[in-house]
Protein backbone atom coordinates (compact mmCIF):
# COMPACT_ATOMS: atom_id res chain seq x y z
CA UNK A 1 0.00 0.00 0.00
CA UNK A 2 1.21 3.48 -0.86
CA UNK A 3 0.29 6.62 1.01
CA UNK A 4 -2.08 8.92 -0.86
CA UNK A 5 -2.16 12.72 -0.61
CA UNK A 6 -5.17 14.99 -0.49
CA UNK A 7 -4.77 16.30 -4.08
CA UNK A 8 -4.69 12.69 -5.25
CA UNK A 9 -7.68 11.68 -3.14
CA UNK A 10 -10.07 14.60 -3.66
CA UNK A 11 -11.05 13.82 -7.28
CA UNK A 12 -11.98 10.33 -6.16
CA UNK A 13 -14.15 11.36 -3.22
CA UNK A 14 -17.37 11.64 -5.26
CA UNK A 15 -16.81 8.03 -6.25
CA UNK A 16 -16.58 7.15 -2.57
CA UNK A 17 -19.88 8.91 -1.96
CA UNK A 18 -21.41 7.14 -4.93
CA UNK A 19 -20.36 3.73 -3.70
CA UNK A 20 -18.28 3.10 -6.79
CA UNK A 21 -15.20 2.28 -4.69
CA UNK A 22 -14.75 0.66 -1.30
CA UNK A 23 -11.86 -0.43 0.93
CA UNK A 24 -11.45 -3.70 -0.94
CA UNK A 25 -11.17 -2.09 -4.37
CA UNK A 26 -9.14 0.96 -3.34
CA UNK A 27 -7.38 0.38 0.01
CA UNK A 28 -4.96 3.28 -0.46
CA UNK A 29 -7.78 5.77 -0.84
CA UNK A 30 -9.58 4.50 2.24
CA UNK A 31 -6.38 4.36 4.25
CA UNK A 32 -5.99 8.07 3.47
CA UNK A 33 -9.62 8.72 4.37
CA UNK A 34 -9.20 6.96 7.71
CA UNK A 35 -6.46 9.42 8.63
CA UNK A 36 -7.56 12.69 6.95
CA UNK A 37 -10.30 14.79 8.61
CA UNK A 38 -10.49 17.16 5.65
CA UNK A 39 -11.30 14.41 3.16
CA UNK A 40 -13.64 12.79 5.67
CA UNK A 41 -15.53 16.05 5.82
CA UNK A 42 -15.84 16.21 2.04
CA UNK A 43 -17.28 12.69 1.88
CA UNK A 44 -19.70 13.53 4.69
CA UNK A 45 -20.85 16.60 2.75
CA UNK A 46 -21.58 14.43 -0.28
CA UNK A 47 -23.46 11.94 1.86
CA UNK A 48 -25.60 14.61 3.51
CA UNK A 49 -26.38 16.27 0.17
CA UNK A 50 -27.64 12.92 -1.10
CA UNK A 51 -29.73 12.47 2.03
CA UNK A 52 -31.23 15.94 1.58
CA UNK A 53 -32.10 15.16 -2.02
CA UNK A 54 -33.85 11.96 -0.97
CA UNK A 55 -35.83 13.81 1.66
CA UNK A 56 -36.94 16.45 -0.79
CA UNK A 57 -37.55 14.14 -3.73
CA UNK A 58 -41.10 14.35 -5.09
CA UNK A 59 -43.14 11.21 -4.51
CA UNK A 60 -43.23 8.83 -7.39
CA UNK A 61 -46.59 8.76 -9.17
CA UNK A 62 -48.58 5.57 -8.68
CA UNK A 63 -48.16 3.17 -11.51
CA UNK A 64 -51.37 2.34 -13.31
CA UNK A 65 -51.99 -1.32 -13.65
CA UNK A 66 -52.22 -2.10 -17.26
CA UNK A 67 -53.78 -5.41 -18.03
CA UNK A 68 -52.28 -6.56 -21.24
CA UNK A 69 -54.07 -8.69 -23.73
CA UNK A 70 -52.17 -11.88 -22.86
CA UNK A 71 -53.31 -11.47 -19.27
CA UNK A 72 -56.87 -10.87 -20.35
CA UNK A 73 -56.74 -13.90 -22.58
CA UNK A 74 -55.31 -15.98 -19.77
CA UNK A 75 -57.98 -14.76 -17.37
CA UNK A 76 -60.70 -15.53 -19.90
CA UNK A 77 -59.36 -19.01 -20.41
CA UNK A 78 -59.34 -19.62 -16.68
CA UNK A 79 -62.95 -18.48 -16.38
CA UNK A 80 -64.00 -20.63 -19.30
CA UNK A 81 -62.26 -23.61 -17.80
CA UNK A 82 -63.98 -23.04 -14.48
CA UNK A 83 -67.34 -22.73 -16.18
CA UNK A 84 -66.85 -25.90 -18.19
CA UNK A 85 -65.82 -27.77 -15.08
CA UNK A 86 -68.85 -26.49 -13.22
CA UNK A 87 -71.19 -27.56 -16.01
CA UNK A 88 -69.54 -30.94 -16.23
CA UNK A 89 -69.91 -31.56 -12.52
CA UNK A 90 -73.52 -30.39 -12.43
CA UNK A 91 -74.80 -32.54 -15.31
CA UNK A 92 -75.20 -36.28 -14.89
CA UNK A 93 -72.44 -37.94 -16.79
CA UNK A 94 -72.03 -41.45 -17.97
CA UNK A 95 -68.64 -40.81 -19.45
CA UNK A 96 -65.65 -40.92 -17.20
CA UNK A 97 -65.02 -37.66 -15.38
CA UNK A 98 -61.80 -35.72 -15.60
CA UNK A 99 -60.39 -37.65 -12.72
CA UNK A 100 -61.02 -40.95 -14.51
CA UNK A 101 -63.83 -42.28 -12.38
CA UNK A 102 -67.23 -43.11 -13.80
CA UNK A 103 -70.06 -41.08 -12.47
CA UNK A 104 -73.32 -42.84 -11.83
CA UNK A 105 -76.42 -40.74 -11.64
CA UNK A 106 -77.76 -42.75 -8.77
CA UNK A 107 -74.82 -41.77 -6.64
CA UNK A 108 -75.64 -38.15 -6.94
CA UNK A 109 -79.44 -37.83 -7.02
CA UNK A 110 -82.07 -40.37 -6.27
CA UNK A 111 -84.54 -40.98 -9.04
CA UNK A 112 -87.87 -39.35 -8.36
CA UNK A 113 -90.31 -41.78 -6.87
CA UNK A 114 -93.41 -42.52 -8.98
CA UNK A 115 -96.52 -40.84 -7.72
CA UNK A 116 -100.04 -42.18 -7.90
CA UNK A 117 -103.16 -41.28 -6.18
CA UNK A 118 -105.74 -43.86 -5.24
CA UNK A 119 -109.35 -42.63 -4.95
CA UNK A 120 -110.39 -42.04 -1.37
CA UNK A 121 -113.88 -43.58 -1.72
CA UNK A 122 -116.29 -44.21 -4.60
CA UNK A 123 -119.06 -42.09 -3.04
CA UNK A 124 -116.94 -39.11 -2.77
CA UNK A 125 -115.54 -36.95 -5.45
CA UNK A 126 -112.18 -38.27 -6.27
CA UNK A 127 -109.26 -36.48 -4.87
CA UNK A 128 -106.41 -36.61 -7.17
CA UNK A 129 -103.17 -34.79 -7.13
CA UNK A 130 -99.79 -35.39 -8.37
CA UNK A 131 -97.29 -33.87 -6.10
CA UNK A 132 -93.69 -34.89 -6.30
CA UNK A 133 -92.56 -36.34 -3.04
CA UNK A 134 -89.66 -34.04 -2.72
CA UNK A 135 -91.97 -30.99 -2.82
CA UNK A 136 -94.92 -32.38 -0.82
CA UNK A 137 -95.91 -30.47 2.30
CA UNK A 138 -96.99 -32.12 5.53
CA UNK A 139 -100.71 -31.15 5.38
CA UNK A 140 -102.75 -30.29 2.36
CA UNK A 141 -106.27 -28.85 2.34
CA UNK A 142 -108.13 -29.74 -0.77
CA UNK A 143 -111.51 -28.55 -1.89
CA UNK A 144 -113.91 -31.00 -3.46
CA UNK A 145 -116.15 -30.12 -6.31
CA UNK A 146 -119.15 -30.37 -3.98
CA UNK A 147 -117.64 -27.72 -1.78
CA UNK A 148 -116.49 -29.97 1.01
CA UNK A 149 -112.92 -30.12 2.25
CA UNK A 150 -110.61 -32.99 2.72
CA UNK A 151 -107.27 -32.88 4.40
CA UNK A 152 -104.22 -34.81 3.30
CA UNK A 153 -101.72 -35.49 6.00
CA UNK A 154 -98.30 -36.86 5.22
CA UNK A 155 -97.20 -39.79 7.28
CA UNK A 156 -93.88 -41.16 6.18
CA UNK A 157 -94.03 -42.26 2.59
CA UNK A 158 -97.81 -42.17 2.48
CA UNK A 159 -100.54 -39.55 2.69
CA UNK A 160 -103.65 -40.01 4.69
CA UNK A 161 -106.84 -38.35 3.52
CA UNK A 162 -109.13 -37.18 6.33
CA UNK A 163 -112.67 -36.04 5.74
CA UNK A 164 -113.73 -33.84 8.62
CA UNK A 165 -117.38 -34.54 8.01
CA UNK A 166 -116.77 -38.20 8.59
CA UNK A 167 -114.90 -37.81 11.81
CA UNK A 168 -116.60 -39.81 14.55
CA UNK A 169 -114.93 -37.99 17.27
CA UNK A 170 -113.07 -40.97 18.51
CA UNK A 171 -109.78 -39.94 17.09
CA UNK A 172 -107.17 -39.04 19.53
CA UNK A 173 -103.91 -37.42 18.79
CA UNK A 174 -101.84 -39.42 16.43
CA UNK A 175 -104.52 -41.96 15.73
CA UNK A 176 -106.31 -42.12 12.48
CA UNK A 177 -110.03 -42.16 12.07
CA UNK A 178 -112.00 -44.71 10.18
CA UNK A 179 -112.05 -42.49 7.16
CA UNK A 180 -108.40 -42.25 6.74
CA UNK A 181 -107.34 -43.58 3.44
CA UNK A 182 -103.71 -44.01 2.58
CA UNK A 183 -102.76 -42.01 -0.43
CA UNK A 184 -99.77 -42.90 -2.42
CA UNK A 185 -98.11 -40.23 -4.41
Amino acid sequence: MTAMTCPEAEPLLPLVADGAVDPSTDPDLFAHLAACPSCQRIVADHDLIALALRRSAPPAPPRARIITFPRLAAAALVLIAIGVAAIALAAPATAPAAHGLAVHPAEHAPAPAPVAVAPAAPARAPVAAAIPEAAAPTVLRLARTDGSTVFLIRRGDAWVAIDPTQMDGSSTRGQSSANEVPVRW
Binding site: M1, V16, G19, P23, A31, A34, L48, I49, L51, L53
Partner: protein, 203 residues
Protein backbone atom coordinates in the same frame (compact mmCIF):
# COMPACT_ATOMS: atom_id res chain seq x y z
CA UNK B 1 -24.75 9.08 -2.55
CA UNK B 2 -23.98 5.57 -1.99
CA UNK B 3 -26.20 3.19 -0.48
CA UNK B 4 -22.67 2.44 0.37
CA UNK B 5 -22.26 -1.25 0.11
CA UNK B 6 -21.19 -2.64 3.40
CA UNK B 7 -17.66 -3.88 3.05
CA UNK B 8 -17.41 -7.57 3.39
CA UNK B 9 -13.76 -8.61 3.42
CA UNK B 10 -12.95 -11.69 1.43
CA UNK B 11 -10.67 -14.40 2.64
CA UNK B 12 -10.57 -17.80 4.21
CA UNK B 13 -11.25 -18.77 7.78
CA UNK B 14 -9.45 -16.44 10.20
CA UNK B 15 -6.80 -17.74 12.51
CA UNK B 16 -5.92 -16.10 15.84
CA UNK B 17 -3.33 -13.30 15.58
CA UNK B 18 -1.61 -11.61 18.50
CA UNK B 19 -2.33 -7.93 19.02
CA UNK B 20 1.38 -7.07 18.68
CA UNK B 21 1.26 -8.14 15.05
CA UNK B 22 -0.81 -5.10 14.29
CA UNK B 23 2.20 -2.84 14.85
CA UNK B 24 4.35 -4.78 12.43
CA UNK B 25 4.68 -3.69 8.84
CA UNK B 26 4.53 -7.16 7.29
CA UNK B 27 1.12 -8.53 6.46
CA UNK B 28 -0.69 -10.54 9.10
CA UNK B 29 -2.90 -13.50 8.62
CA UNK B 30 -6.11 -12.15 9.96
CA UNK B 31 -7.63 -10.22 12.83
CA UNK B 32 -9.42 -12.03 15.58
CA UNK B 33 -11.98 -10.44 17.85
CA UNK B 34 -9.40 -9.41 20.41
CA UNK B 35 -7.28 -7.68 17.81
CA UNK B 36 -10.34 -6.00 16.38
CA UNK B 37 -11.26 -4.64 19.80
CA UNK B 38 -7.73 -3.33 20.30
CA UNK B 39 -7.89 -1.65 16.93
CA UNK B 40 -11.22 -0.04 17.73
CA UNK B 41 -9.92 1.25 21.04
CA UNK B 42 -7.08 3.02 19.23
CA UNK B 43 -9.38 4.36 16.54
CA UNK B 44 -12.27 5.46 18.75
CA UNK B 45 -11.44 9.16 18.61
CA UNK B 46 -11.17 9.19 14.83
CA UNK B 47 -14.31 7.11 14.41
CA UNK B 48 -16.33 9.39 16.69
CA UNK B 49 -15.14 12.36 14.70
CA UNK B 50 -16.48 10.73 11.55
CA UNK B 51 -19.80 10.01 13.25
CA UNK B 52 -20.10 13.64 14.35
CA UNK B 53 -19.96 14.79 10.74
CA UNK B 54 -23.33 13.10 10.33
CA UNK B 55 -24.92 13.16 13.75
CA UNK B 56 -25.04 16.02 16.21
CA UNK B 57 -26.73 14.23 19.09
CA UNK B 58 -24.36 12.83 21.73
CA UNK B 59 -26.62 9.98 22.74
CA UNK B 60 -27.06 8.95 19.12
CA UNK B 61 -23.31 9.23 18.62
CA UNK B 62 -22.78 6.67 21.38
CA UNK B 63 -25.33 4.34 19.85
CA UNK B 64 -23.71 4.54 16.45
CA UNK B 65 -20.27 3.99 17.96
CA UNK B 66 -21.52 0.80 19.59
CA UNK B 67 -22.98 -0.29 16.27
CA UNK B 68 -19.62 0.33 14.60
CA UNK B 69 -17.90 -1.83 17.20
CA UNK B 70 -20.36 -4.67 16.69
CA UNK B 71 -20.02 -4.61 12.93
CA UNK B 72 -16.25 -4.36 13.08
CA UNK B 73 -15.84 -7.28 15.48
CA UNK B 74 -18.22 -9.33 13.38
CA UNK B 75 -16.54 -8.73 10.04
CA UNK B 76 -12.89 -7.91 10.69
CA UNK B 77 -11.81 -11.53 10.43
CA UNK B 78 -10.93 -11.28 6.75
CA UNK B 79 -8.76 -8.16 6.93
CA UNK B 80 -5.16 -8.99 6.16
CA UNK B 81 -3.44 -5.61 6.57
CA UNK B 82 -3.62 -3.10 9.43
CA UNK B 83 -3.84 -0.07 7.14
CA UNK B 84 -6.67 -1.74 5.26
CA UNK B 85 -8.37 -2.37 8.59
CA UNK B 86 -8.36 1.33 9.44
CA UNK B 87 -9.90 2.23 6.10
CA UNK B 88 -12.46 -0.48 6.60
CA UNK B 89 -13.38 0.80 10.07
CA UNK B 90 -13.86 4.26 8.57
CA UNK B 91 -16.25 2.82 6.01
CA UNK B 92 -18.17 0.98 8.72
CA UNK B 93 -18.52 4.23 10.69
CA UNK B 94 -19.77 6.07 7.62
CA UNK B 95 -22.30 3.33 6.78
CA UNK B 96 -23.54 3.09 10.36
CA UNK B 97 -24.04 6.85 10.54
CA UNK B 98 -25.99 6.96 7.29
CA UNK B 99 -28.10 3.98 8.34
CA UNK B 100 -28.97 5.87 11.51
CA UNK B 101 -30.00 8.94 9.57
CA UNK B 102 -32.11 6.90 7.17
CA UNK B 103 -33.89 5.26 10.09
CA UNK B 104 -34.57 8.72 11.45
CA UNK B 105 -35.92 9.73 8.08
CA UNK B 106 -38.49 6.95 8.24
CA UNK B 107 -39.40 7.96 11.79
CA UNK B 108 -39.77 11.59 10.76
CA UNK B 109 -42.09 10.68 7.92
CA UNK B 110 -44.35 8.87 10.37
CA UNK B 111 -44.47 11.36 13.19
CA UNK B 112 -43.54 14.74 11.69
CA UNK B 113 -47.07 16.19 11.48
CA UNK B 114 -47.54 15.92 15.23
CA UNK B 115 -44.25 17.42 16.35
CA UNK B 116 -43.88 21.17 17.00
CA UNK B 117 -41.13 23.17 15.38
CA UNK B 118 -38.09 23.82 17.54
CA UNK B 119 -35.39 26.41 17.14
CA UNK B 120 -32.53 24.12 18.04
CA UNK B 121 -33.38 20.96 16.21
CA UNK B 122 -30.04 19.38 17.03
CA UNK B 123 -30.95 19.28 20.73
CA UNK B 124 -34.50 18.13 20.29
CA UNK B 125 -33.65 14.47 20.39
CA UNK B 126 -36.25 13.99 17.72
CA UNK B 127 -33.88 13.20 14.87
CA UNK B 128 -30.11 13.46 15.09
CA UNK B 129 -29.88 14.36 11.42
CA UNK B 130 -32.14 17.37 11.81
CA UNK B 131 -29.35 19.36 13.43
CA UNK B 132 -27.49 19.12 10.15
CA UNK B 133 -30.30 19.03 7.61
CA UNK B 134 -32.71 21.79 8.38
CA UNK B 135 -35.58 22.61 6.07
CA UNK B 136 -33.69 25.62 4.77
CA UNK B 137 -30.65 23.56 3.92
CA UNK B 138 -32.72 20.90 2.24
CA UNK B 139 -34.38 23.57 0.13
CA UNK B 140 -30.97 24.98 -0.76
CA UNK B 141 -29.81 21.55 -1.86
CA UNK B 142 -32.85 21.21 -4.11
CA UNK B 143 -32.19 24.62 -5.66
CA UNK B 144 -28.55 23.71 -6.21
CA UNK B 145 -29.61 20.54 -8.00
CA UNK B 146 -31.96 22.48 -10.24
CA UNK B 147 -29.10 24.81 -11.16
CA UNK B 148 -26.90 21.98 -12.44
CA UNK B 149 -26.48 21.29 -16.14
CA UNK B 150 -29.27 18.97 -17.31
CA UNK B 151 -26.93 16.05 -18.00
CA UNK B 152 -25.45 16.12 -14.51
CA UNK B 153 -28.79 16.84 -12.87
CA UNK B 154 -30.47 13.88 -14.51
CA UNK B 155 -27.60 11.53 -13.68
CA UNK B 156 -27.67 12.56 -10.02
CA UNK B 157 -31.44 12.37 -9.87
CA UNK B 158 -31.45 8.85 -11.27
CA UNK B 159 -28.69 7.76 -8.91
CA UNK B 160 -29.91 9.33 -5.70
CA UNK B 161 -33.69 9.64 -6.05
CA UNK B 162 -34.40 6.53 -8.07
CA UNK B 163 -31.51 4.44 -6.75
CA UNK B 164 -30.32 3.20 -10.11
CA UNK B 165 -26.81 1.86 -10.40
CA UNK B 166 -24.32 3.04 -12.99
CA UNK B 167 -25.23 0.37 -15.51
CA UNK B 168 -28.92 1.16 -15.26
CA UNK B 169 -28.28 4.87 -15.59
CA UNK B 170 -26.15 4.23 -18.66
CA UNK B 171 -28.96 2.23 -20.24
CA UNK B 172 -31.55 4.84 -19.37
CA UNK B 173 -29.54 7.73 -20.76
CA UNK B 174 -28.06 5.88 -23.70
CA UNK B 175 -24.45 6.48 -22.69
CA UNK B 176 -21.63 4.29 -21.48
CA UNK B 177 -20.81 3.63 -17.86
CA UNK B 178 -17.71 5.80 -17.82
CA UNK B 179 -19.75 8.76 -19.01
CA UNK B 180 -22.18 8.14 -16.16
CA UNK B 181 -19.38 8.18 -13.61
CA UNK B 182 -17.99 11.39 -15.06
CA UNK B 183 -21.39 13.10 -14.90
CA UNK B 184 -21.96 11.91 -11.35
CA UNK B 185 -18.52 13.06 -10.18
CA UNK B 186 -18.86 16.46 -11.76
CA UNK B 187 -22.40 16.89 -10.55
CA UNK B 188 -21.60 15.96 -6.97
CA UNK B 189 -18.56 18.21 -6.92
CA UNK B 190 -20.59 21.12 -8.31
CA UNK B 191 -23.31 20.58 -5.71
CA UNK B 192 -20.86 20.59 -2.87
CA UNK B 193 -19.13 23.70 -4.17
CA UNK B 194 -22.43 25.61 -4.43
CA UNK B 195 -23.59 24.49 -1.01
CA UNK B 196 -20.30 25.04 0.80
CA UNK B 197 -20.63 28.72 -0.09
CA UNK B 198 -24.14 28.75 1.38
CA UNK B 199 -23.41 26.89 4.57
CA UNK B 200 -19.92 28.25 5.15
CA UNK B 201 -18.31 24.91 5.62
CA UNK B 202 -20.95 23.49 7.93
CA UNK B 203 -23.28 21.55 5.75
Amino acid sequence: MSDGPEVRPAGGPPSPVPVEALAQSQPVQALDAEAAVALLQREEGGVRRVIRYYIRDHAAEDDVWQEVCLRAVRHLGGITHPAAARGWVYQVARNASMDWLRRCDRAIVRIAPELPEREDASQSGRAPGDGVLTDERIAAVRRALDALPPSQREAIRLRIEEGLDHVQIAERLGINRQAVEVRLCKGRAALRERLSDIFEGDL
